[in-house]
Symmetry: C2
Subunit: 158 residues, 2 copies
DNA sequence: CCTGATATGTTATATTATATCAACCCTAAA
DNA sequence: TTTAGGGTTGATATAATATAACATATCAGG
């Protein structure tokens, strides 16, 4: 059992479906989900947590899929460009997208008690309104909040 | 003449008033605005742009105020802790606060045409609602958007 | 075949940030 | 006055994150 949001669920199946979604997207869009890219995405889906690039690299390397930083950064560039993976700027870490296929403006909830990161969404209108009030045209958004998840508010479990 | 938001204004005076605000705050709260901290804040106010820690360090160093990274990172820690400076996570850069004294959840507009960063605000209710729907308690927020400022949308001036 | 676009392998380096420990300065308690 | 503690600084070293640069490989289309 694993967490999604901050609730429990069995995500054995969701790794498989996310991979299928990614493969379908790549076929449709004529881009290549090469072995390294595929494996990085699988790792992030399986681990279901925000991981540093070098954490991912260590796993890749143990599997003999390349041990140099560009390997993982290139894969992450590809995966983030196509929306399969998000970068958590506040943590310099990477997280598999919970809503593959959507085009959305994700909001990340970072718990500093247990280091869990949950992805959710919020209305984008307030953001657009504030930006357009200054004549600014939004292309990408970074919305991250840090605090305590439900489980860490009570016991203060670190 | 300099920019604030994306409009022109003369900000000669605002450096001085921001420094006075900071000094008053430090007196009131019994914390020390030491020479290094003061100079880092002045630099960020004078430059009126997002600067990397090492850019600031280069200026400090040229003035003989210490040439090692901890000097500037300690100053930035202090200044961000007390709200005089914000970190722009997306850029790994630091920016003097445009609303000294307020307690606010700032929104940063990052123009990738001219590298200007404007600080504004938005209603925080949507954020709080989305977080509390998952039982999450917010402590800090990072809201940054990247795109094009009014001046860079037309001429595409890089 | 040749070429251009895309991807990978490899080495090296750039950029951002922190750990650690000794010294200093001030305040306030003993 | 001495001593202890908190906060700050100085200095050295290193950790953590990310990219530049260039050679090689693969493959589809002309």
């Amino acid at each position: 059992m694993h967490d999604i949001g901050f609730a429990k669920h069995d995500h054995t199946a969701c790794v498989a479906t996310a991979m299928e979604t990614a493969e379908a997207f790549c076929r449709d869009n004529k881009v290549q989900l090469t072995p390294a890219r595929k494996r990085v995405l699988e790792i992030l889906l399986e681990q279901h947590r925000a991981m540093g690039a070098y954490d991912i690299l260590a796993l890749l390397s143990a599997e003999g899929m390349g041990s140099q930083p560009p390997v993982v950064y290139r894969a992450l560039d590809f995966l983030t460009k196509h929306g399969f993976v998000h970068k958590i700027e506040k943590l310099n870490a990477y997280l598999a997208c919970s809503h593959p296929g959507d085009r959305h403006s994700p909001l990340f909830l970072i718990c500093h008690g247990c280091d869990t990161v949950a992805e959710t969404t919020m209305p984008t209108a307030p953001l657009k309104d504030a930006a357009s009030a200054l004549g600014f045209k939004i292309e990408t958004t970074v919305i991250e909040v840090e605090g305590l998840c439900p489980g860490c508010q009570t016991g203060d479990a670190a």
